[in-house]
């Protein structure tokens, strides 16, 4: 779904192609029996209904994305599938963090500030009973909790995980 929905979005493509060197890595090539998972090997297409209704932010550690400095240090990390508008907001936040990557204290301050902001939004969403929005905010908040532990580390040790159940 990242390929079909998020990465095929023209603005996402443009931004990644102009601002980042992008790469992907398949850490569980044997996850789908009979499908070797080589770069050119495509899984069967999912239905339009599935694409439309798949929740923003779902998918867990099946998909991990690390935004890194040129020398490969983590400044932002998100887990799961995101719709283009959510993904673009995360890229924008990553770019803010990249701009202060040389100042670890400022980097941590900005991550903490966004965490606090999301916690506030979460309270509002809970009061409004907006379940889907609340679920997304919880995922984004958890991303930042993990990020706080991983800032400026190399991503390699966080790229290997047990496959999550697919909804």
């Amino acid at each position: 779904m990242l390929r079909t929905v998020t990465f095929s979005d023209p603005e996402v493509c443009r931004l990644l192609d102009t601002q980042f060197v992008s790469t992907w890595h398949n850490q569980a090539q044997d996850l789908f029996p009979g499908k070797p998972g080589a770069p050119g090997d495509h899984q069967p297409a999912v239905s339009e209904h599935y694409l439309r209704t798949f929740p923003d932010g779902a998918g867990g550690g099946n998909v991990r994305m690390f935004f890194c400095t040129p020398d490969g240090r983590i400044v932002h990390g998100i887990e799961g599938f995101y719709r283009p508008e959510t993904f673009l907001a995360e890229v924008a936040f990553a770019q803010q963090l990249l701009a202060v990557a040389g100042d670890p204290a400022e980097l941590r301050r900005r991550v903490a500030a966004r965490q606090a902001g999301l916690a506030g939004e979460l309270g509002t969403a809970e009061a409004a009973g907006a379940a889907q929005h609340r679920a997304l905010l919880q995922v984004l908040h958890r991303n930042l909790e993990r990020l706080a532990q991983r800032l400026l580390e190399l991503p390699d040790r966080y790229m290997v995980s047990e496959p999550h159940a697919i909804a």
Binding site: F20, V21, F32, Q43
Partner: protein, 79 residues
Amino acid sequence: MHRVFRSAAAAWVAAGLMGCAALVSAVRGTERAVATETERAVAATPRWVLPQERARALANSEGRPLLLVSLNGNLDGYC
């Protein structure tokens, strides 16, 4: 007279076969068009630099930030 009927029957059979062929061709053409459209829809993906070691080296040499997508399974599964 028989010869006339035989010719007419042969003409009808030929026309039927040509009609079937045209129909099959049209359906296949539509399938091809759909397949092409699907490919076009996902053709606009970012330029992935593979393998990741090459991307890391390129980011470092060009001083550009790196986006590393790590997947359980390949890019077309649930991605």
